[in-house]
C-alpha cells in the first residue's frame, strides 16, 4: 500500500504568516505593519493578557498568478483568532487600500484567511466596529475584484467574521474547516446540550464542516489540506472572475431555502443536502 509522503505538509499546520507565504508566488511575500512595527492592542495588557506585536493578523503583499495580491491572514494561535481594534483595523484598512487601487483601475487580489472565533471579547465593542468596517469594505471591493475567503481549520470561522465569510465572492474550505454564525460550544451553552452536544464531533462537522458547507452551496470549493492544493484553489477562484451574483445578494434564494425546512423535524446533514438539492447553484 502507498504510505503518505513523510512528513506530509499541511496547510492547517502553518502559522498565519506561513499561510500567507504559501498562497503568494514564491519570493514575492512582503509584510505590511509586521511585528517589528509593534502595532499592538492597547486593551489586552490592562486585562492581564500578553499582547502580540502583530495583534494576530498578518497583512502580506505579493503576487498570485502574476497579479498583485494582498493576503489578510488571521493567527488562530493568538486569542483564538479573535478580532480586536487593531487586528480588525489592519484587515479593514488593507481592504480599503485595495478598494482605492481598484477604483484607480489597478485592482489588487484580496484573500482572507479566516481562522477566528469572531470578536475578541476583551475589546468587544471596538472589535464589533472593526468587523462592521470589514463587511462594508468587502461589499465595496467585490464590485471590482473577487474577494476570496479560505477557511482551512482546525479552528474554523465563527461570529461576525462568519458574516465576512458569507460576503466573500468565493469561499474555499478543507474538510476540517468549520463555518457557522455560532460555534458549537456557544450553541450548547445557549440552547442546551439536547440541541447540540459540542463534543459530538460527528454531529458538529455534519452541520458546519467543510464537506457539508460545500455540499449545500454555502461554500464553493472543498480542497485538500496541503499548501499547493489551497493555493491552486485560490488561483482558480480568481481565474473564474466575478460571479454573476454574489451569494449574499441571492436573498430570495435563501428565503426559499428556509421556507422548505420543517423546523419541527430533526435534520441531519444528508437530509439537508437532499432537501436543498433541487435549487443548488
Amino acid at each position: 500500500m502507498s504510505a503518505p509522503s513523510i512528513p506530509r505538509v499541511h496547510f492547517t499546520e502553518l502559522s498565519a504568516r506561513e499561510r500567507a507565504k504559501a498562497l503568494l508566488e514564491a519570493g514575492t511575500f512582503r509584510e505590511l505593519l509586521g511585528p517589528f512595527e509593534r502595532i499592538e492592542s492597547p486593551h489586552l495588557s490592562p486585562q492581564g493578557v500578553v499582547p502580540q506585536s502583530d495583534d494576530g493578523v498578518v497583512v502580506a503583499r505579493g503576487t498570485i498568478d502574476g497579479s498583485p495580491a494582498v493576503i489578510l491572514a488571521i493567527e488562530a494561535a493568538f486569542q483564538g483568532g479573535g478580532i480586536g481594534e487593531v487586528s480588525g483595523a489592519k484587515i479593514a484598512g488593507a481592504l480599503e487600500l485595495a478598494l482605492g487601487d481598484a477604483e484607480a483601475g489597478t485592482p489588487v487580489r484580496p484573500v482572507l484567511v479566516l481562522e477566528t472565533g469572531g470578536i475578541r471579547l476583551q475589546e468587544a465593542n471596538l472589535g464589533l466596529l472593526a468587523i462592521a468596517e470589514v463587511h462594508a469594505a468587502i461589499i465595496a471591493l467585490r464590485r471590482y475584484v473577487p474577494v476570496v475567503g479560505v477557511i482551512a481549520g482546525p479552528l474554523g470561522c465563527f461570529g461576525g467574521m462568519s458574516i465576512a465569510a458569507g460576503l466573500c465572492s468565493y469561499l474555499i474550505m478543507t474538510r476540517e474547516g468549520r463555518l457557522g454564525l455560532n460555534g458549537p460550544a456557544v450553541i450548547e451553552e445557549e440552547a442546551g446540550v439536547a440541541e447540540l452536544d459540542s463534543r459530538d464531533n460527528r454531529r458538529v462537522w455534519d452541520i458546519m464542516g467543510g464537506e457539508q458547507r460545500v455540499a449545500v452551496g454555502m461554500a464553493d470549493t472543498l480542497t485538500e489540506d496541503d499548501p499547493d492544493s489551497v493555493a491552486r484553489a485560490v488561483r482558480e477562484a480568481f481565474a473564474a472572475g466575478l460571479p454573476e451574483r454574489h451569494r449574499s445578494a441571492k436573498v430570495e434564494r435563501y428565503e426559499t431555502r428556509l421556507g422548505v425546512i420543517d423546523s419541527s423535524q430533526e435534520l441531519d446533514g444528508q437530509k439537508l443536502r437532499s432537501i436543498w438539492a433541487e435549487e443548488r447553484r
Partner: protein, 553 residues
C-alpha cells in the same frame, strides 16, 4: 482458611466449596434456561447466586467494563445481598461506588480508581468503604489465585454460545486471569455478552469454565483510552522525543519496550519514521512492543519498524487494522486481535528492555507519582512495567548497558525512563520538594505513600532541558545533582549548582541537547509522521476507524 482446614480434617470433608457452589447453582436453576440467564431476570439471579460477605470480582479496568452486570449488581436488594468484598481492577464507573453507598459492598481490593478517585476518598472518609489494599494489576491477579479467590466473578465477552463458550473479541484483557482464578476454585462465573450466537468466531474461554451467560441490554462499554490526537502534540514534546530517541533508544540499543499513555510517548511513536529513520535506526531499536494498539504507532508499523506487538487490551477503532496486520499483532484463527493483560504485563515486567512513561510529579530523589491533591487514583499496571525485574536472567545489550559496577558478579537493569516537561500547562512545577502522594496517603490512612515509580527504579529522566542518566550516579548526592540539572526553574531545579554542570556532563550523568547533537530549532511539528487523526487514517489505508469524538471532518 486455617479454621476451615481444621474443620475439614475433623469432618473429613474436602469438598465444602464444591458443595456450596452446587447449592447455589441449584437455587438459580429456577431462573436459568440451561446456562443462559434471561436478561430481565439478572437481578433475581444475582440475588440467588451471591450471598452476604462474598468476594465478588467485577470485571472493569481502564478499558473494558462488564457494565451490564455492575449496573445490575447495584440494583440488588441490599437486605438480601450486603457486605460484599468487591474485587476490581479499576473502580471507574459510578455504580462501582453506588454499591458501597447502598451497603451492598463494604470492602474493596483494587488496582486503580481513575475517574472515581474523588468519590473513593469521600466514601473512605464517610466510613462506607474499606480498602484492603491498592495493587498493581499483576499483584491483584496473583492474589486472585492465592488468598483472594472470588466466590463470584462477573465478566464481559462479545459472544457466547449455548454451551457457555465465550468469544471476547479483541478486548480479551483481564477475562482469562479472572475466570481461571474463579472457576478452578469452585467459584461461580457469570459472563455478560453482547449477543448469543450459534457459532463463535473463536473460543477465548471454554464453556466448562463458565457457569452462566446473559445477553446484556447494550454492548459492554470500552473506553478509547490510548488514542492521542497528534494535533495536540507540542514542539516541546517533540524536542523531548528527539532527546529520548537519540540519548536513550540509540545509545542503549533499546529493542523491546513499553510506552505509557500520553502525548510525550505518542510524539516518540510519530518521530520513529522521520527522525528515527534519519538516524538510521530502523530495525536496530523499538522492534518489539508490549503496547496496546496505539493509533500513533501506525506510521512506524507501516514503515517497517515494528516486528511484534503484544497487547494488554485493544483500542476502539483499531479492530480492522490489527486484524489486517497479523504478522505484527497476536491474532486468533478468526483473524481478530487477541489481547491478554496478564501476559502483556508479564512481558513488560520481564521481557522488555525499557519502560518509557510520563508522570505528573517527581521529587528530588526521582520518586514519581500521578496522584494529585485529594485524589486517590491507585496504580494500574505502571509499577509492574516501570520497575526493574530483579528475577530477570536473560540478557540484551540494553539490559547489560545499565551495569556500572566492575565486580565479577553483576546484573543488568531494565531502563525505566520518565518523561516530564518541567512545568504542566506552563504553570505547575512537575519537580517538587514533596509529592502530593505523601499527604494523600496520610489522609487516606494508607500505610505507605502511593508512589507510582520509585526513584531507585528510575534510570533516566528526560525533560526539555536534557537527560539525567540517574543509573550512572555513584551516590545519592550525584543522583540529586543530575536530576536538578534538568529540572529547569522548578523548586528542585533552582537548587542546581551551575558550577557542577561541566563535570556532570563530562561524567555522562547529564546530557543537554547539544551534547546529543539535537538542535532545539529542529523540533518542529512538521517532523511528526502524522499530524492529525486524519493522517493516521490515511497511513492505515483506511483500516483505522477513529471513534466519533476524535473525528474532525
Amino acid at each position: 482458611m486455617c479454621a476451615n482446614s481444621a474443620a475439614q480434617l475433623e469432618g473429613g470433608n474436602w469438598r465444602r466449596r464444591r458443595e456450596e457452589k452446587a447449592r447455589r447453582l441449584n437455587k438459580a436453576g429456577r431462573i436459568a434456561r440451561g446456562r443462559v440467564l434471561p436478561t430481565g431476570s439478572i437481578v433475581a439471579a444475582l440475588e440467588a447466586l451471591i450471598e452476604p460477605g462474598d468476594r465478588v470480582f467485577v470485571e472493569g479496568n481502564n478499558q473494558k467494563q462488564a457494565d451490564f452486570l455492575s449496573r445490575s449488581l447495584a440494583r440488588v436488594d441490599a437486605g438480601k445481598v450486603h457486605d460484599l468484598h468487591l474485587l476490581i481492577s479499576s473502580l471507574s464507573r459510578p455504580e462501582h461506588l453506588d454499591v458501597f453507598e447502598r451497603g451492598i459492598a463494604r470492602k474493596t481490593d483494587f488496582a486503580y480508581a481513575g475517574p472515581q478517585s474523588l468519590r473513593v476518598a469521600q466514601l473512605l472518609t464517610d466510613g462506607k468503604l474499606k480498602i484492603g489494599a491498592i495493587h498493581t494489576y499483576l499483584e491483584l491477579y496473583g492474589r486472585l489465585v492465592l488468598d483472594l479467590a472470588p466466590t463470584v466473578a462477573l465478566v464481559a465477552a462479545e459472544q457466547a454460545d449455548a454451551a457457555g463458550n465465550l468469544y471476547t473479541g479483541p478486548n480479551t484483557e483481564d477475562t482469562p486471569a479472572v475466570v481461571e482464578a474463579t472457576a478452578f476454585r469452585d467459584g461461580i462465573v457469570i459472563a455478560q455478552v453482547n449477543e448469543l450466537a450459534e457459532e463463535l468466531p473463536r473460543v477465548d474461554l471454554p464453556g466448562s469454565w463458565v457457569d452462566f451467560v446473559v445477553e446484556a441490554d447494550r454492548p459492554f462499554h470500552i473506553e478509547p483510552l490510548f488514542t492521542r490526537d497528534p494535533r495536540h502534540i507540542s514542539e516541546v514534546q517533540i524536542l523531548m522525543a528527539m532527546l529520548t530517541i537519540r540519548g536513550i533508544y540509540e545509545r542503549h540499543e533499546v529493542k523491546s519496550l513499553n510506552h505509557g499513555i500520553g502525548f510525550d510517548t505518542a510524539a516518540i511513536e510519530l518521530l520513529l519514521p522521520t527522525y528515527g529513520e534519519s538516524l538510521g535506526l530502523r530495525g536496530k531499536v523499538c522492534t518489539h512492543w508490549a503496547l496496546n494498539p496505539h493509533p500513533t504507532l501506525i506510521p512506524a508499523i507501516e514503515s517497517g519498524w515494528v516486528e511484534a506487538v503484544v497487547a494488554f487490551g485493544s483500542e476502539v477503532g483499531m479492530e480492522n487494522y490489527t486484524a489486517a496486520r497479523p504478522d505484527v499483532f497476536m491474532t486468533g484463527g478468526d483473524g481478530s486481535l487477541r489481547s491478554n493483560r496478564a501476559f502483556a504485563q508479564t512481558a513488560g515486567l520481564y521481557a522488555a528492555d525499557a519502560f518509557v512513561g510520563s508522570t505528573l510529579q517527581i521529587d528530588r530523589d526521582a520518586n514519581s507519582s500521578t496522584v494529585t491533591r485529594g485524589r486517590l487514583a491507585g496504580f494500574g499496571g505502571a509499577p509492574n512495567l516501570g520497575s526493574d525485574a530483579r528475577g530477570r536472567r536473560h540478557t540484551t545489550p540494553a539490559w547489560l548497558s545499565m551495569i556500572t559496577g566492575e565486580s565479577e558478579v553483576e546484573r543488568g537493569r531494565k531502563l525505566v525512563v520518565q518523561l516530564a516537561e518541567t512545568f504542566s500547562d506552563g504553570q505547575t512545577p512537575r519537580f517538587v520538594e514533596s509529592l502530593d502522594a505523601v499527604e494523600v496517603g496520610r489522609n487516606a490512612g494508607l500505610p505507605l505513600a502511593p508512589v507510582m515509580i520509585y526513584g531507585d527504579d528510575t534510570t533516566h529522566i528526560v525533560t526539555e532541558e536534557g537527560i539525567a542518566y540517574l543509573y550512572r550516579a555513584r551516590n545519592l548526592k550525584e543522583r540529586r545533582e543530575a536530576l536538578a540539572a534538568v529540572a529547569g526553574v522548578t523548586p528542585v531545579g533552582l537548587k542546581h549548582d551551575r558550577s557542577r554542570e561541566k563535570r556532570l556532563r563530562r561524567d555522562g550523568l547529564v546530557a543537554f541537547p547539544e551534547d546529543l547533537g539535537v538542535r532545539r530549532t529542529d523540533a518542529r511539528r512538521s517532523l511528526l509522521a502524522a499530524q492529525s487523526i486524519g493522517d493516521l487514517v490515511e497511513w492505515s489505508g483506511g483500516l483505522y476507524n477513529p471513534p466519533d469524538r476524535f473525528r474532525t471532518w
